[in-house]
Amino acid sequence: MSDLGSVGLGRRGFLAGGAALGAGALLVGCTSNDAGSAPSQAAAPAGDNAKPGKTVTIGFSGPASDHGWIAAIGKNAQTRAKAYSDVKFEPVEATNDVTKQISSVETLIDKKVDALVILPFDGKALTAVGKKAMDAGIPVVNLDRIFDTQQAYRTWIGGDNYGMGQSAGNYIGQRLKDAGISNPTIAEVAGIDNLQLTQDRSRGFKEALAKFGFSVKARQAAQFTVESGQQVMSNILQAQPKLDAVWNHDDDQGVGVLAAINQAGRKEFFMVGGAGSANAMRLIKDDNSVLKCTVTYSPTMASSAISLARLIAQGKGMSDLVEKEVPSYIILASATVTKDNVDQYLPLGFES
């Protein structure tokens, strides 16, 4: 998987010119604007983009943090913006109320910011206001949860939920196949079920497992919170006296899932996490719990979104590419983090 660039992208360490992590085949790897992280052939132009240009104001609106991932999104955006001397960062109050988010984005439009970065609580509900901003001539970088129409954003950047499910499914499928287990009991602890992202993850997981001839025996949705993870998992453990593998969509609720597993004293199976929190990676590294792997969905994408918004507002392209404009659609890839490569990813994990 050539996804290291995407994960590494927002990392401050890269500003210091850290080692290039992977092949960096993804477009996104190039937005880092730092000489050190760019693929070899384009090192010089990348340096140009990092130089201070016209000062631009970037407005930012995201959901209220109900778990570590969202919290990391807000912090990464802020940290990244501060790293640029030519960016004025204007965040609005985070909220999980779509009408409030709409009005706060409208405030930013009225203020005539140079670019907007929006992670909508609900992409569909925020589409109209995204379009309003675009119509007012303010380029919108739509982060992760996508708007309904392309008219509502200049560039979309987000993670690959389907791919995340695939990564998890492939890892579990391969590992069970290698162990010679023919009819395994696989459980899935999903996130909030009515979000498109949860459905995409589950679909990816199901389809990857199907390649191995496996299917999910028990699936329950939690709420992305530690408490809900604990509750759901303790019930699943009760329902399934013997498990072979578990995929939990989110490492933050995973703390609760692991607590339930430890309290039940179960260890006959292995577990795969999701998102890539620092805590999960430390557990994988220590290798003394059921958690053996996590598939990333890194909140560093918020850092990248700020970088993209800056470039767009300054009228620059991604200097590693030939085109003079920032691409309009960027999907980050999901990495499979195991004990073997965890050291590479640990610095990118978010504190849940």
Binding site: H67, G68, D193, T225, V226, N235, A239, V255, A259
Partner: protein, 337 residues
């Protein structure tokens, strides 16, 4: 609401003359309400036995249900007191979150388990005291005060924790969730202890009788010489204390403190109290009913997971159960009076 007029007088012994429902009948009515919930639990059990292939009625699963019910159960005990006393406490979930966060900051954890527990209890009681003072002495509406506390306490929890999940590294706290005596988890003992203590206080002490009196007819209670303001304030402190205990339990169970803990506990607790047969207006209620209410909800969740059914169906079922239980109770009380 129609039955309320009939119930009011029964709450204050000093006001007996207008009494229509003798106390033995009131007692039987309460029992009837609890009975309807026992019937619901019975139906759920039958459904469980039929649909789950023998996995429902195992010791492990029953203990699992009790453990799941333990935390919200403790919160519900406090809520029952507040509602019987004529109030409402919407801040319980937020107080659980705040107490869990405050008790798991690195600073607090460095002092060890004893201080963490003390911290959780004090934070819960302190916030409850603020609620109580504003309601009793500030003469503000409980709904508004505790709604404000809900928002403020969660906000404070978020800012204290920096919106991060705080891992509990003190083993003796985490061990609370894994310790078992005679095969029964410690959490269930704590739950039982709180319920028994609550039952005794409500049914066998002056404090309990005053709670019923204040909730039934505050003016009458005042004339009977009860310091209703002091008593009201104490009810919210009691609810806060229950939140503090619940916070310690949730810290153990999830091995974390987090501003997301206790999400919608206020709704779960109020729903359990109401289907348990406590009058939302105050002045009448049963702790046993509330606990049965909690068990009904927890059992539904358990049943759905055992059958691998999706969450949305669970929520529909819970809504239907609330309506059904309330209708059943109304029938029961109508025929009774």
């Amino acid at each position: 609401m129609s039955e309320r007029t009939a119930d009011l007088p029964s709450t204050v012994d000093a006001q007996q003359p207008a009494e229509r429902t003798p106390s033995w009948l009131a007692g039987r009515l309460a029992a009837l309400r609890s009975l309807s919930l026992v019937a619901v639990l019975g139906i759920l059990t039958i459904v469980g036995v039929i649909t789950t292939d023998g996995r429902f009625l195992t010791t492990g699963n029953v203990l699992n249900i009790l453990t799941s019910a333990s935390i919200i159960g403790v919160v519900t005990v406090g809520m029952t007191f507040v509602i019987i006393g004529g109030g409402i406490d919407l801040s319980v979930g937020a107080l659980v979150a705040l107490a869990s966060v405050w008790a798991t900051t690195l600073q607090t954890q460095s002092y060890g388990a004893g201080i963490m527990v003390l911290c959780a209890l004090l934070v819960g009681m302190g916030a409850g005291l603020v609620n109580g003072l504003l309601i009793a002495y500030g003469r503000l509406v409980p709904f508004i005060v505790t709604l404000a506390m809900l928002v403020a306490a969660r906000g404070l929890a978020q800012s204290l924790s920096d919106r991060k999940t705080q891992l509990v590294t003190v083993d003796s706290i985490n061990n609370i969730a894994t310790t078992k005596w005679l095969g029964v988890p410690l959490l269930v003992y704590i739950f039982a202890a709180v319920v028994v203590a609550g039952w005794i206080v409500l049914n066998r002490t002056t404090f309990g009788r005053r709670t019923v009196a204040v909730g039934g007819n505050a003016e009458a209670a005042r004339l009977a010489g009860i310091d209703i303001r002091r008593h009201t304030a104490l009810l919210y402190v009691l609810s806060g204390l229950c939140c503090g205990i619940a916070a310690v339990m949730i810290m153990a169970r999830t091995t974390t403190g987090s501003s997301t803990h206790g999400d919608q506990y206020e709704l779960d607790a109020i729903a359990a109290v109401i289907i348990g047969g406590t009058l939302l207006m105050g002045g009448r209620g049963t702790l046993v009913g509330s606990i049965l209410g909690v068990l009904v909800f927890t059992t539904i969740t358990n049943l759905f997971v055992l059958n691998n059914l999706p969450t949305e169906v669970q929520n529909i079922a819970k809504g239907l159960i609330i309506i059904a239980a309330v209708l059943l109770q109304r029938r029961g009380s109508d025929t009774g009076t």
